[in-house]
């Protein structure tokens, strides 16, 4: 239990740190971005919106910093992330909540699948070392060095086309209306196939490599020798003894690198014009839509924290040693 409590404390601390970073970053902007925006919107902003923007950007110079910080927290706790410039006058929270489910479904499912598949293949590659499976290694090394979004372009070039079943862009057919019916879900799944395949292939290779190396390292442990000496079947030694132990560092590695992976996979959405958070971040950067950028950063960070916590729970189940203490 104490392990879990420690982790929870850590996540709360990290969430606080991320929000605080988010508070300070816009204060680096020189000049007055809000004034520029107001003139761009030609007086369409009401006084409340202007005030909210000033709080967000820290340009409320009459107030001391700590007061600004408290105001910022007050806004956040009300779910107020400011107004988006690109989707004016929708609030940022609304814009993000329309795109978040897309990203959660695409990136969430593919990340978990790629970890599971990659680890499985890594077990085989590590166990059958020296066989033809080793030929997989140069290929995976190459694939893991390719930027995700470029691989997406290649996939579109190779697989998508006028008479292909893979649509090259968008999240669903323009003809169907979003809703929980067969047409929409079918169309959404069809549109997510190619992005999912891209993320799967290019992120899986990293897990194959690291799991293979862990398997090779574990294979020379004494308990493997003992297991073989006991006359257990090869399959049982591989899965129950070697893979079981090689898995632990891989799972904690997975938890640790979630932040890195998610950053890369999000951008696959750009290439496919997939209506998720990554594509929105791209649009926000292009339009210098600071509130939207900040909101997206916050949401991504919080999602990664949540995912990390789930990975920690998985580790707790897999490693009995963490449960023994306390």
């Amino acid at each position: 239990m104490s392990y879990l409590l420690k982790r929870i404390a850590f996540y709360i601390f990290t969430a606080w740190a991320a929000i605080t970073i988010n508070f300070f970053v816009p204060r680096l902007i020189p000049g007055d971005p809000v004034q520029a925006l107001i003139s761009k919107e030609r007086g369409q902003l009401n006084a409340d919106a202007v005030h909210s923007l000033y709080v967000l950007f820290g340009l409320d110079k009459q107030q001391p910093l700590w007061q600004q910080y408290l105001d910022y927290w007050g806004q956040l706790l009300h779910g107020d992330l400011g107004l988006s410039f690109t989707f004016f006058p929708s609030p940022v929270s609304e814009v993000i909540s329309s795109s978040l489910p897309w990203t959660l479904a695409l990136v969430g499912i593919t990340t978990v699948c790629s970890f599971l598949l990659g680890t499985g293949l890594g077990v085989l590659a590590g166990w059958r070392r020296g066989s033809w499976v080793d030929l997989v290694l140069p290929v995976t090394t190459f694939l893991s060095s390719v930027p995700y979004f470029w691989f997406g372009l290649i996939m579109i070039e190779l697989l998508a086309g006028p008479d292909s079943i893979f649509p090259s862009s968008g999240g669903y057919d323009p003809g169907v209306t979003p809703g929980w019916d067969i047409d929409f879900i079918g169309s959404a799944v069809q549109h997510s196939l190619l992005p999912a395949l891209t993320i799967l292939i290019s992120s899986m290779s990293g897990w194959i490599l690291s799991m293979r190396n862990m398997m090779v390292t574990v294979s020379s442990e004494d308990y493997i020798t003992v297991a073989h000496a006991k006359g257990l079947s090869d399959r049982r030694v591989m899965l129950g003894y070697a893979a079981r132990n090689a898995l632990l560092p891989n799972v904690s590695g997975f938890a640790l690198s979630l932040g890195l992976i998610v950053g890369g996979t999000l951008l696959v959405e750009i290439v496919f014009s997939y209506p998720g958070v990554g594509f929105q971040l791209f649009q926000a950067v292009g339009a210098k839509d600071y509130p939207l950028m900040q909101g997206i950063f916050l949401i991504i960070t919080l999602s990664v924290l949540a995912a990390n916590f789930i990975a920690d729970l998985a580790y707790l189940v897999l490693d009995p040693r963490t449960r023994k203490e306390g």
């Binding site: 020296g130 060095s145 470029w150 490599l209 690291s210 390292t217 890369g264 950067v285």
Partner: protein, 323 residues
């Protein structure tokens, strides 16, 4: 993203098996095929970074009359929508990529060594605080943070991008170094050094750091891979040095001018391949370092066409008849 085993083990807090002292061999580093291949490719890229802008046949910004032309003898990699020569753009882009990668790698590695080693060696609340700091930076998604910071800054030059990437991506290295330092701290030779009255700084610089060289090197190479990919990604979404070409900028234009829809594969394939090959070279280098630190990974390879199975004790004993 390839993660080396040593890092993974260390980061997971598992004690890495200490390699037994092998017969001393000079330049063992080079004798490894993977490392050698990695170094050769890397050397080629460094040459490209130095001489690329001089070698490029055209000015990468100069417009020409051939719009979106496929590769020809005049334009080896074809041209863009403005008639710019893509071969020249790729050649000129090498410098920015290598510069940012190295700058970010150096900045992040220096930070990682300072924070990682001191948080591992100082067994007080300061060490704990530094460790918590690196964990926080590890969990916060680096790429979105880099994107936000870089797009908020008023002017983006390659140096600024390198610094931003370096300042946000040291955490993984720091964590690995901390784990490794923790395990070194309790070794006999460190106790002996303390007993002879060596100062803390001397112990860190002359006793600990030499034993951390491989971990530091592998962290450096890993950070360079990450930095190059981040820089390319930044440029791809439109945050880059406006006066300079890099491979991400080429991809940015290819994407925004619908190169795919026009079937202009030559526009984005060369730049992407250049990135992928650079990344592969760096990964190969890292595998080489990995195999030096962890001899078990050294590829026994195929022995006379026979598969080496993970059998008893993993000592492939082959009889006369090849078993």
């Amino acid at each position: 993203m390839a993660i080396s085993t040593v890092d993974l083990q260390a980061a997971a807090g598992e004690a890495a098996p200490s390699p037994r002292p092998a017969k001393r061999q000079k330049f063992r580093f080079i004798s490894n095929g993977k490392t050698l291949a990695g170094l050769i490719i890397l050397g080629f890229y460094v040459l490209l970074a130095i001489f690329g802008p001089i070698l490029s046949p055209y000015d990468p910004d100069a417009r020409g009359s051939d719009l979106i032309s496929p590769p020809t003898s005049a334009h080896w990699f074809g041209t863009t929508h403005l008639g710019q020569d893509i071969f020249s753009q790729v050649l000129s882009g090498a410098r920015g990529v290598v510069y940012v990668g190295l700058l970010a790698g150096v900045v992040a590695t220096v930070l990682a060594v300072i924070i990682g080693v001191s948080s591992g060696y100082l067994a007080n609340s300061g060490g704990e605080a530094l460790s918590a700091l690196s964990n926080v930076f590890l969990v916060i998604p680096a790429l979105p943070l880099i994107i936000i910071v870089a797009s908020i800054l008023p002017s983006v030059s390659n140096t600024v991008i390198g610094l931003v990437i370096g300042l946000t991506s040291w955490a993984w290295g720091a964590r690995v170094l901390r784990a490794q330092t923790l395990s070194l701290r309790g070794r006999d030779y460190v106790d002996a050094a303390k007993a002879t009255g060596e100062s803390t700084w001397r112990i860190i610089f002359f006793e600990l750091l030499p034993n951390l060289t491989a971990v530091i090197a592998s962290g450096f190479v890993g950070t360079v891979i990450f930095a190059v990919l981040s820089e390319i990604t930044l440029a791809f979404i439109g945050v880059s040095d406006p006066t300079d070409w890099n491979w991400g900028t080429i991809l940015f234009w290819a994407q925004s001018q619908q190169a795919l829809a026009q079937g202009a594969w030559w526009w984005f394939v060369p730049a992407g391949l250049a990135i992928a090959i650079l990344g592969t070279a760096l990964s190969l280098l890292n595998f080489g370092i990995d195999e030096i630190v962890n001899p078990r990974l050294r590829s026994a390879g195929r022995i006379k066409g026979k598969t080496v199975r993970m059998r008893i004790g993993f000592t492939p004993v082959l009889g006369k008849d090849n078993r």
